[in-house]
Amino acid sequence: MATTADLVSNGNIHRHNQNIDTFKSDAYVRSGFNSHCNKHNGKANGGLDKRPFKESFDQAPLYVAVLTYVGFGVVTLFGYFRDFLRACGLEKCYLAQEREEQKDFVPLYQDFENFYTRNLYMRVRDNWNRPICSLPGPQFDLVERVSDDYNWTFRNTGKIIKNVINMGSYNYLGFAENNASFLTTVEDTTRQYGVGVCSTRQEMGNLDIHNELEDLVAKFLGVEDSMTFGMGFATNSMNIPALVGKGCLILSDELNHTSLVLGARLSGSTIRVFKHNNLQSLEKLLRDAIVHGQPRTHRPWKKILILVEGIYSMEGSVVRLPEIVALKKKYKAYLYLDEAHSIGAVGQTGRGVTEYFGLDPSDVDVMMGTFTKSFGAAGGYIAGKKELVDFLRTHSHSSVYATSMSPPVAKQILRVLKCIMGQDGTTVGIQRVRQLTENVRYFRQRLQEMGFIIYGNEDSPVVPLLLYMPGKVGAFAREMLKKNIGVVVVGFPATPITESRARFCLSAAHTRGMLDKVLNTLDDLGDCLSLKYSRHKRSIQDRTLRRNSVLNH
């Protein structure tokens, strides 16, 4: 019986080291590093250079999980204590409160859902929503603010922290720039068209710039046609309901973005979730769906749509696209690929995960992406066959009712696309793509050598560094700001409760000097806060050899 392991992709049969051994073939070679804590997957892709697909999600030692729960327990106990004081009236309550007349009704504000926000998030919330007062390039300026009452209110001191290294903006190719000589076309467009469109796409908001942009996006991706929207989140949440409805099945990855989840829920289809990047789980769901059909009537499903992302921004993992394409062809399902973080950031020439794996773009039924990340603009696109895009032009809420893209933004995307494709006569675009790949490799390698636990694929520009304990989350962000580096830390609702992390987004605009400064600070901070949990620390000799080999390239 053929399993997903024996896949035919690009005419070659590949054997894959899956992380769960489901097939007992004699030819399967047991590699030494399929150990308990480390999930390494070796696979030769069908691309030109046959790079192995390396992802790792190390587990920390057990005492770390125990101590994380201890930390949360302490904070929860003190949360109950403070809530009690607030209820008694012994302490002033800064939150919204109901009026006296409403006290007997169902509580409006002090709910248990807000318990975590009130009692943990408030204590460390000076690390989020920091006001930025410059371009979010590789370095930026922050407004300095202090709090006198433990983060309930803030006030600006009037000073500005200058030249903070930016490790949090999604500026993968460095196109968030304000150099006047690069932006001449954008300036001309603003002079010609203004900034506001003042209409929806269907009424009077269809400018010739939009048509030009859509043609260029289609050419860039290698598909028949594309359509652009003013907002990336709205592209997902408004177009999925147009494609699927009642009687259809959506198979969505565990860790999909909120816009995909919202779009799936709004559509009214049945949603089933498969484990993250786990092809056995997906195949089982597909087989069950086809064999059993719809829940009570057992009629066949009208459509089956698989929702995946190119790069998952919280994990840094890359989707296993060749296997998913093979599965979808076998079971005749449709594939919706959200390339928000991967377009422009992976692939030889920045064309996303289809190029990274060497696949034909027409294998993916609906290619979606955003212009917010690598293109330094705003908005999203959906690309694919001409029939699909024509259908969406009339049936999607976003295209009919939402305001279309602003002209300077559209021109910025056009300029960036021409730069990446080389149509403006320079090699700046392709140089930036190469610089990003180099930066990513260098940064990840150095962090792994230092002994931190890093999640994700070796080639993904999103680098989550695991912090685990809630106390360390606040301390890490504050200490990094003191050293003039701005990072984004993520905690409980966005990540599992024991896996808080700091997420670094690398950029082609980061110089080697900036990366070295960040890495040295991380080294010191890792020792000071004891964050180096990895059990795979390399020896000093190995480290010196590796550093020499990196310098020699």
């Binding site: 201890v70 302490v74 904070v75 204590r123 106390g471 301390a475 000071c528």
Partner: protein, 80 residues
């Protein structure tokens, strides 16, 4: 006698304790309450251990030696 180095090491250890137990995010008066409670509990545990463990181990050893010793005597009496 590297007093300064020792002081720095101790303050680093205290910092680690604050981070691990998540007292780092609490306000100073909450930290004092938590430290007092924890210190009291640890003192009580240590005191109990100091007072009761020697007595209990001695009694346990006597009990088990009485068991096996008694058995040896009875088998010896049986053999002879």
């Amino acid at each position: 006698m590297d007093v300064k180095g020792l002081k720095e090491y101790l303050s680093w250890l205290y910092y680690q304790y604050l981070l691990v137990t998540c007292s780092y995010v609490l306000e100073p008066w909450e930290q004092s309450i938590f430290n007092t409670l924890l210190f009291t509990m640890v003192t009580m545990v240590v005191y109990t251990a100091y007072v009761f463990i020697p007595i209990h181990t001695r009694l346990a050893l006597e009990f088990f030696s009485g068991l096996f010793g008694g058995q040896h005597e009875s088998t010896a009496a049986f053999m002879s």
